[in-house]
Amino acid sequence: MTYEPPITDYDYIVENCTCAFCGCNCDDLDYLVKDNHVVAVRHACRLGASKIMEDMDQRLIVPMIRDENGELMEVDWDTALDKAAEYIANSVRPVFYGWSETSTECMKEGVALGEYIGAVLDNQATICHGPSLQAVQNAGYPIQTLGEVQNRADVIAYSGSNAMNSHPRHMARYAVFCRGYFRQRGRFDRTVITMDPKFSDTAKCSDKWIGFEQNGDYGFYNAIRAVLRGKELYQDVISGIPKEDIYELAEEMKAAEFGVLFFGLGLTHTLSKQRNIDIAIKMVQDLNRFSKWGLTPMRGHFNVNGFNIFMAFECGFAFGVDYCRGYPRYMMGETNTIDLLVRKEPDCFMVIAADPGAHFPNGANQHLANIPVIQIDIHWGPSTELADVVLPGSFIGVECAGTSYRMDGVPIYMKKAIDKPETCRDDEWIVRELKERVMKLREEPNTAPKYVPNPNAL
């Protein structure tokens, strides 16, 4: 890293802005604005700061439609919206994917559109913390807000998460280094344990590293649970860990006054997927017999949790909600984006504030190349290359206000600091326009002629 002199040339400062990068949603950022452009960001980590400052890098400015030659051509908003609405209205199995980097207000319009046309609504949870949500649904959800961690926690465990790199301010602001009401000495009052096959940067600054073998998570946590119940371990080495280490770890966890387990994708996407989290939750529940423990998934995008909470609020299911029969359905393997794409079912795909082109497996992207794709985003990315209609949105938390939910479920109002480029529109406006246009093009499919109560609910 080279030395960068402090920025002194700015017009004004906007204080207490919320970072639109990871699930930490740090709401203490100060933006230094010059000529309607953020020239510097105070307090943010490098990830957040660069995202906010480089907002014009490869920016999508005007709506575009792919022509017969396969080239994206610039068009006006009406044409682009009409084309997109036509794709949606004519589709039989539309999928609306994304939502994690836009506001809850925009999701509200999205659900209205999805429910009207009978679409599948899904967000990035399907490729990141979906297994966590499934585990939560099977085992429960002992969670606490991050302030609770800051004020009380004396044992912090990271599992399958490299917070140092993925959520750079997590340790500083909420979990490890910060001073809290009962932890006035900050880092010195806390023990940090990292459980990860990799000797990650987080492990390097931890007090203890448990490097269990890859895919061994389930066996490892099961062994801890057995020890917590007072059982002698019969194998000498469990999931690559000597059994003495497991006894020691269990004792340390029992001795905590207030412990928190943060887990990331390292836990959700190894061999036994949601069952890793399932047993981690059960372990935390067991630990509550001895002391106070909680856990929190390290959510990636700043509003990925918001979509799950909002969908649960609207229809009772967190992600991968299929409205095609006129009522919500949720079934893993059936109503999730990747499964649908790999099965080559969808015939229209709207991606909003996400980049499937970069993140999805090859098989899924192959199908995306064959069907109409509508993209609502602010940056040019691999998905733009797949898109047939491109609708440039605006940057929540910088150019446009909106609500987001932090990884621990605390809602935060992200305020607007600068104006958006003249030709861009708010995400909320775009989706509402699409909804209104689709409503004109097609009568609502799959409505019941009369309300029929569900016999199970009587």
């Binding site: 606490q144 004020n151 207030f258 106070k292 609020f313 229809c315 009772g316």
Partner: protein, 528 residues
Amino acid sequence: MEYILKNGIVYDPANEINGEKKDVMFKDGIIVDDVSSDAKVLDVTDKIVMPAGIDPHAHVAGPKLVVGRLYRPEDSRRGVTQKTKVLRSESGFSIPSCPATGYRYSRLGYGTVVEAAMPPLEAKHTHELKISKGYGIKIVNPCGSEAWGWGMNVHGVNDKAPYFDVTSKEVIQALAKANEYLNLPHSIHIHPNDLGHPGNVPTTIETMDAVKDIKKSSKATIRDQVMHLCHLQFHSYTGNSWRDAASGAEEIAKYINKNDHITCDVGQVTLDETTTMTADAPMEYDLFKLSGLKWTNKDIECETAAGIIPCIYSGKSPVNSLQWAIGLELFLHIDDPWKVCLTTDHPNAGPYTRYPRIISWLMSNQRRTEMIENREVHKWVEKRTTLPTIDREYDFYDIAVISRSAPARIYGFEDRGQLTPGYRADIAVYDINPNDIDPSRQYAEIEKGFNVADYTIKDGQILVKDKEIVKVKESQNIWVNVKGYEKQEQKVIDDIMPFFTQYYSVKWENYPVHDHYLSNPIRVDVEK
């Protein structure tokens, strides 16, 4: 638009109208004395007309509810219905989705519901003090949630919270005084310590006694009480453990009959599979250890905690049957129906969609006896409660009191809960002819009749017509704005600011609920 509800049989306890055949008129959303000849006539001959229901204590919009929905997809699946031209799709049984909650209340003839739990930090989520846009002060398991921060609990009102030199009795008294000092329309709303523990009767009575000498604010003219206890059923157990637990309802009811500073709602167990969620997190962990199903907990920094678990109340279980009987005992032992409200503490003791069934139990001694004799409930009901000996039956007037008029008075509502001219036209019509039915024998018809209202009218708009929802109205939020204390308020803010900045994980600027979140709010101003 003018309407006239013709020939209905009106029950309006606030105006002491008990089953009179009369017309109810309203114009532009307000009840009026007279309408012109152009008024649209809605024929409700021989049907029950009441003010729309008011639910004084339910969990329908709070942040923990959404966690409940998030983690119980199997419950959401139970109530899935297809959308229609008017309605959106519904889901959920004990924790219905947001639209389903509204629709089902409308079908029951309810017009107002009070969400009972909203931690200020997550108030934006509830989208409903000036800062957090709430209506009153609710106290849950005082000091217990603080202790839960360390995995402990407090027992009894004189226990101290760990690391804080304060007892729950002091907390209750201080907040009750503050409540009256601010002239808030509602009294403090308390969930006492020791919820659901056998032998908690003394704690409950001490809690009630703690505020006996606190004077009600002279400005709060509508309500009579200085303390409202919620889900009292869970606080009326005697004994030392569940082995020897029995009903303490009579003792509690006696205290309430003697003292006028207390009102309560019941939290009647409906014997369904439901989801319990309360800010009394330690209690939920105790329950989880019993059931071993799935346990959710949510601690909110410096403010509160919440626990959620799925719960199956079954008539076969002695404990659940005991709870069922205690709830009914409270209803029947408390002489003045104005002091008690109909709730299930939705969804803790059962979903609110079961209110009609509770009404049928209250109105029919025959049904209660049948349930006991047919072993629909466990024999503990006979052995450990006084329920079999009570033959009191509620009439329609009493039902109107406990489900509408009493909650309106307790909350100090000045605009709803009565059919008085000038009030909001929130009206419910049920397809029951009170002169032609014997509720004691025809309890099934009573339940059916109250299950779906013939008409539900909210602010003069007909939402339910002929038992079908015909219109969906955007909800409104009621919040209290206290005026005349701007200086003191600023001082409080200045005092807590260093604490806030250091120990909260959000900035002060991002803490209040912005006006952006309030869709057509109703602001209740309170002057000094």
